[in-house]
């Protein structure tokens, strides 16, 4: 598979407080995938995104973009990039539409602004000043901002931050569409939900180090408990029983149960990514 980014032993220290925010991480991002960078607050997600988007240039280690050192690219690099920031990034005294028109002009390629605004449900509010927008509206405008230049790669930092479930759904669908059209996505988040629904692969980052890279499915299998929960009707009430998944075909108790009672439902012991997040990073994820 074609690699969009190859990151090797990346390190970054904030000069001001000598904090090693990124401490020797390595990973690849493949073309056409949604790559998630997942970790607790302060883990180094935003820092990593800022390095990859060339906002921080004095890093150690190596980053290749399409096989060439990132440092050899000039500002045309930004023609390929759509960047969704963690916080609103607009002129508050300009309308949503004025903001988008201004930023759009600065690129060679353009998506139709009105179509994008319609897609995120901001078309009706396009002529209102951004200072009158709610947090969620500003974040949706951030997403439109990221898509303006029809990018090849989307960097999204906490993209569903401040969105209600309906709007979060809309944005996630747009990300999926972007991916289906061949786009690559680099997604930083601490929300399991985003990862589970969107990511092809996920890297867990903690204290500036990557502790795990895998597909969400692999993680669930690896960390999942190998057990089966059976819920069945027993004298008009629902009872439940737990069985080891290994050798379940010879498990007498299990076989007797399913032959005797009417089974209501069965669950394999899949661990939620939330549990995995806590296990892998040693911290409680905020959902």
């Amino acid at each position: 598979m074609e690699k969009v980014f190859e990151v090797k032993n990346l390190q970054f220290t904030y000069r001001k407080n000598q904090i090693k925010a990124v401490n020797g991480i390595s990973f690849d991002v493949y073309k056409g995938e949604v790559f998630g960078l997942l970790g607790p607050s302060g883990a180094g997600k935003s820092t990593t995104q800022k390095i990859l988007t060339k906002l921080f240039k004095d890093y150690q280690g190596e980053i290749l973009y399409l096989g060439k050192d990132l440092k050899t690219y000039n500002n045309d690099y930004y023609e390929d990039l759509g960047v969704g920031f963690e916080l609103p990034v607009h002129f508050s005294k300009l309308t949503g539409l004025e903001n988008m028109k201004f930023f759009s002009q600065l690129y060679k390629n353009h998506r139709d602004i009105e179509t994008l605004l319609k897609a995120v449900g901001l078309y009706e509010d396009r002529n209102r000043m951004v200072s009158d927008y709610s947090k969620g509206m500003k974040m949706r405008l951030n997403f439109v901002r990221a898509m303006l230049n029809d990018p090849k790669i989307l960097f999204l930092d906490e993209v569903t931050n401040g969105l209600d479930p309906k709007n979060a759904r809309i944005i996630k669908d747009l990300i999926r569409q972007f991916k289906e059209a061949g786009g690559t996505v680099f997604l930083s988040t601490h929300l399991m939900n985003d990862v589970e629904e969107l990511c092809d692969r996920v890297a867990f980052i903690r204290g500036g180090e990557i502790v795990e890279i895998a597909t969400p499915r692999e993680l669930k299998i690896r960390f999942g408990k190998r057990e089966l929960k059976v819920e069945y009707f027993n004298n008009g009430t629902t009872s439940e029983a737990l069985f080891e998944l290994d050798g379940i075909g010879e498990n007498k108790a299990f076989l007797e149960l399913i032959n005797t009672y009417e089974v209501e439902t069965m669950h394999s012991g899949e661990t939620s990514l939330d549990d995995i997040f806590i296990k892998v990073t040693g911290e409680v994820g905020n959902v």
Binding site: S46, K50, T53, K54, L55, F56, K57, N75, D76, Y77, Y78, E79, L81, V83, F85, E86, L87, P88, V89, H90, F91, S92, K93, L94, E98, F102, F103, Q105, L106, Y107, K108, R145
Partner: protein
């Protein structure tokens, strides 16, 4: 249009939408009112001081405050991920600051000239105000790139004004001899005031004028090359 032209257009739109042009215009009207109240005999003395205040001190404050405000809105950051390039971004901001200084200068100068027949070397005035505003844009940026918050910026600018205004004041009061004025040229405010005075036909030693002019071009260029351009991205990107 080139990205620089587009950035320039964006800056002008920002000046209007954030009512900066309008506020600057109101301040200019206030100067005009004061000139009007002072009357014609004193106008020639005060007009240069008002133009100096507008082009030098107001520019420092306006540029500094503006940078803080934009940093808060994160618009500096989102511009950094466009293909525009750092130099075009900074240049558009510098030129819009110079434009503001020119706008008030031209209005004040025309008013003084037409109403009170104050004599002015117009071309020199415009050229010098461009240089003075350029220098003070650099000073304003330097202060705001180092200030942690808005209050600190105000404190720095206040300290700067006092430190550089005092020698000029003493000199004006005749405390120092004339030889000392050459040393005083190393105060950007003194150099600026001397240049503006020249355009109002006050007796000015030409050599001092040239020193001042050179100084107010060299200092900002050095500030841009060694401080502002290297430090700007870091400030722009910070959350």
């Amino acid at each position: 249009m080139s990205n620089f032209g587009l950035l320039m257009k964006g800056e002008m739109l920002r000046l209007i939408k954030y009512k900066i042009i309008q506020i600057s215009f109101v301040v200019t009207i206030l100067w005009l009112l004061i000139i009007f109240m002072i009357g014609s005999d004193q106008a020639a003395t005060f007009v240069p001081i008002f133009i100096f205040t507008d082009a030098a001190l107001m520019t420092v404050l306006l540029v500094g405050a503006s940078l803080f405000y934009e940093k808060q809105e994160n618009t500096l950051k989102t511009l950094m991920i466009t293909p525009s390039g750092l130099h075009a971004i900074i240049a558009s901001k510098v030129i819009s600051a110079i434009y503001l200084a020119l706008q008030s200068t031209v209005i004040i100068a025309l008013f003084a000239n037409l109403l009170f027949a104050v004599e002015i070397r117009f071309i020199a005035l415009i050229a010098f105000v461009i240089v003075i505003a350029f220098a003070h844009t650099a000073i304003g940026y330097t202060f705001s790139l180092f200030a942690k918050d808005f209050n600190e910026l105000i404190a720095q600018v206040g300290a700067y004004m006092i430190v550089f205004a005092i020698p000029t004041l003493f000199y004006a009061l005749g405390v120092f001899s004339e030889v000392f004025e050459t040393v005083l040229m190393f105060s950007p405010t003194h150099a600026a005031l001397l240049m503006i005075n020249y355009t109002f036909f006050s007796s000015t030693r030409l050599v001092l004028l040239l020193i001042g002019l050179a100084y107010l071009i060299v200092v900002p260029v050095l500030l841009f090359i060694y401080i502002i351009i290297p430090k700007y991205p870091e400030t722009a990107v910070k959350d």
